[in-house]
């Protein structure tokens, strides 16, 4: 539970720093704060992000943790980049993103995770890095706008992802492995300020 508390403190700090940053006008000022449950980047994760390319895409950086009593302890840092190919305007204040698509890179810290293997293994003996996972991701979200408020937009999303090692397993066993077992999901919310 110690790491879980650290996670909560970290998230609170992130919100504080973000709030402080929002009051300043700066190029680095993030556009939104994201909180997520699951989605392969932590039981809980928090992140800050930017809308880019006239809001046709967004990028964000997250820290997540899986506490020991839920299959951890794991600390994970993640970068996401998702494109917004289409939006559906339900009303003036509600916009649905039917299918945002993109990629994620997640980094697990700790002694169990390595970016290289000892020299005595021939190259490519273990061809993947245990600490780095590359994911493809698809997301759907409902976005609600609050005009003239400090927090002027909020979204609830569901995101599906599949990592590189699951993809390799899938493509070498297409008749046995179902995508339903290898595609993983997370849910979250984003708040724009």
């Amino acid at each position: 539970m110690k790491s879980f508390r650290i996670n909560v403190v970290f998230t609170a700090l992130l919100v504080l720093v973000a709030s402080e940053a929002f009051s300043q006008k700066s190029f680095l000022k993030p556009d939104f704060l994201a909180l997520q449950h699951a989605g392969s980047i932590g039981y809980l994760s928090a992140g800050l992000g930017y809308d880019v390319f006239q809001s046709r895409a967004r990028m964000s950086f997250h820290y997540g943790n899986v506490p020991k009593n839920l299959g951890g302890n794991l600390d994970i840092f993640t970068g996401k980049f998702l494109c917004v190919p289409a939006v559906v305007r339900v009303s003036e204040l509600v916009i649905i993103h039917p299918i945002d698509v993109g990629v994620m890179v997640s980094y697990h810290t700790g002694e169990n995770f390595k970016s290289n293997v000892p020299d005595y293994f021939e190259s490519n003996y273990y061809w993947w890095h245990t600490n780095l996972r590359f994911h493809v991701a698809v997301e759907q979200s409902v976005n609600v706008y609050f005009h003239e408020r400090r927090f002027h937009r909020m979204s609830a999303y569901i995101e599906f992802n599949m990592n590189d090692l699951y993809l390799v397993s899938y493509f070498t066993n297409t008749s046995t492995l179902g995508l339903d077992k290898l595609v993983k999901a997370g849910i979250g919310t984003r708040i724009w300020f």
């Binding site: 449950h37 699951a38 989605g39 392969s40 980047i41 932590g42 039981y43 997540g64 899986v66 839920l70 299959g71 951890g72 794991l74 994970i76 997640s106 697990h108 169990n112 995770f113 000892p118 005595y120 293994f121 273990y126 993947w128 245990t130 996972r133 609830a156 569901i158 599906f160 990592n163 090692l165 699951y166 390799v168 397993s169 070498t172 066993n173 008749s175 046995t176 492995l177 339903d180 077992k181 290898l182 595609v183 993983k184 999901a185 997370g186 849910i187």
Partner: protein, 265 residues
């Protein structure tokens, strides 16, 4: 948000949880429905069946990422009624990920006989060692079936500090117990003559086997069937085919004598 909106959101969350879609990390050690202690549960099944003079074992090698071949193997093994149990000689998974272990277990659960799993070097990647230990049980364990003592142990030495694995103290103790054993069969993933065995311990290990005279020493890792006396010291070593070769060793032990045939599927 309307009541309908809340209802839809709750339904989505219920669906995600039910379908095991909410993954916290590919490296998480377990999730809500990960099985535990599979080796002990399978041994309980084995001991519940009446044995006879002949122990018949489907001795199989590395299953790592060969899911389709594993399904074919199970069809073949299920049709051979004389098999007492399936012995998996390590590298159950390729990346040491929970999802892999769970998929393999899901397929193995269709076997109509017990299966016993030994840890391989791929199984201990990332958090794999903890996952394997929780799901299958201790990495070093032994059991006696019809007066034959099977000593399953971790020989993935290059994954650990030099001079520590295999655990020679534990092995010596297992070979020395006064437990009515007539014959020994050590089982591990990496055979001592392979480069991935801890070379600091090769001499000690082979010396111990020489002293204790097992009827055979069983291994995986090299992905193909081999049978012989590599140290020319009277100790017989055998490795099994991995799943991509779609063959396994049908091993029979009758009063300390070993008989085998290769079964293709």
């Amino acid at each position: 948000m309307t009541i309908r909106g809340v209802g839809v959101a709750l339904l989505v969350i219920f669906f995600l949880v039910r379908c095991d879609l909410l993954e916290y990390s590919p490296n998480q050690v377990y999730d809500q429905d990960t099985p535990v202690n599979l080796n002990q549960k399978n041994l309980d099944k084995l001991f519940a069946t009446p044995g006879d003079d002949t122990i018949t074992i489907a001795f199989v090698g590395d299953s790592q990422r060969f899911y389709e071949e594993l399904e074919s193997f199970i069809d073949t093994a299920n049709a051979i009624s004389s098999i007492d149990f399936v012995l998996m000689a390590g590298d159950i998974s390729d990346f040491g990920l929970l999802e892999e272990f769970e998929q393999i277990e899901d397929i193995l659960s269709t076997l109509n006989k017990p299966f016993i799993s030994v840890v391989g070097n791929h199984d201990v990647q990332a958090k794999g060692e903890e996952t394997f230990e929780r799901m299958f049980g201790p990495l070093n364990f032994s059991f006696i079936y019809n007066k034959v003592k099977f000593i399953a142990h971790n020989t993935n030495g290059r994954e650990y500090a030099p001079g520590t694995i295999p655990d020679m103290t534990w092995l010596r103790k297992e070979f020395s117990k006064d437990d009515g054993t007539q014959y020994y069969v050590p089982v591990s993933h990496i055979p001592p003559f392979d480069d991935d065995f801890d070379k600091d311990l090769e001499a000690d290990y082979t010396q111990l086997l020489r002293e204790k005279k097992p009827i055979i020493s069983l291994h995986g890792h090299i992905h193909e069937f081999k049978d012989g006396f590599p140290y020319e010291d009277g100790v017989r070593y055998m490795t099994s085919h991995s799943f991509e070769l779609q063959s396994f060793v049908l091993l029979k032990i009758v009063k300390g004598k070993i008989y085998h045939e290769i079964i293709s599927y």
